[in-house]
């Protein structure tokens, strides 16, 4: 099945993403959800601002999903990333991986979030009580 790739300013809908990857042939579904934390490196974070190079991010996410498909037997995958201003506790990224057996779902999900963070052009700015900065690495 075609992977689901969402880049949106709207709140992410975890239930809809899980429903979209569900299928009778699936034996395990792993969900990773990244949420906005109120602290970072000793700072009190007020909110986050995400910027995205949308056209390239879509292509790059499709590429890493394809790489994951070659390593694990993925039935279905959904990757959703939000951009714009996000408040504490809101989800910035949700990755849902559905596979016949659970081990592959965990491994593929871990691979997707780690690779997304390092290769997909999405940037995060922390706006803290004592200033703001774009976070690198």
């Amino acid at each position: 099945m075609e992977p689901i790739i969402q880049l949106t300013r709207e709140p992410l809908d975890r239930d809809a993403l899980v429903a979209a990857v569900s299928h009778p042939s699936v034996g395990g579904i792993v969900v990773f959800e990244g949420v906005v934390r109120d602290n970072a490196r000793g700072k009190n974070v007020r909110y986050l601002e995400y910027d995205v190079y949308e056209e390239m991010a879509r292509q790059q996410i499709a590429t890493i999903i394809e790489e994951a498909r070659q390593r694990w037997s993925l039935e279905h995958v959904a990757v959703a990333h939000r951009f714009g201003r996000l408040e504490i506790g809101e989800a910035s990224v949700i990755i849902v991986v559905a596979t016949p057996h659970r081990a592959e779902a965990f491994e593929a999900c871990r691979y997707l979030i780690d690779t997304l963070k390092s290769t997909v052009p999405i940037w995060k700015k922390e706006v803290a009580t004592n200033g703001e900065e774009w976070v690198e690495g």
């Binding site: 390092s118 997909v120 774009w134």
Partner: protein, 82 residues
């Protein structure tokens, strides 16, 4: 020839705009544009040194030669979180 440069994240904030069109000579390379932008705006140097290049939505080396209507983006480090 004309190329388009788009700016994101810290580049957009330092430059104060999201994109610009540049007229450059044939056979201009990505590395030449990097030097040009830093010369024009020295405050870009630290972030430029940490950034890689994307040409028409793909990562490319700095020696890549530009062509008419190319879209060039400098990609600062992404990521965050462990």
């Amino acid at each position: 020839m004309k190329i388009k440069i788009r700016y994101f994240a810290s580049f957009r904030e330092l430059i104060g705009q999201g994109e610009e069109l540049l007229t450059v000579a044939d056979a201009t390379r990505v590395v030449d544009i990097r030097a040009l932008l830093v010369e024009r705006n020295p405050r870009l140097q630290p972030i430029m040194e940490r950034s890689v290049n994307a040409l028409n939505h793909r990562y490319v080396p700095a020696e890549t030669v530009l062509h008419e209507n190319d879209e060039l983006v400098f990609i600062p480090p992404t990521g965050g979180g462990q």
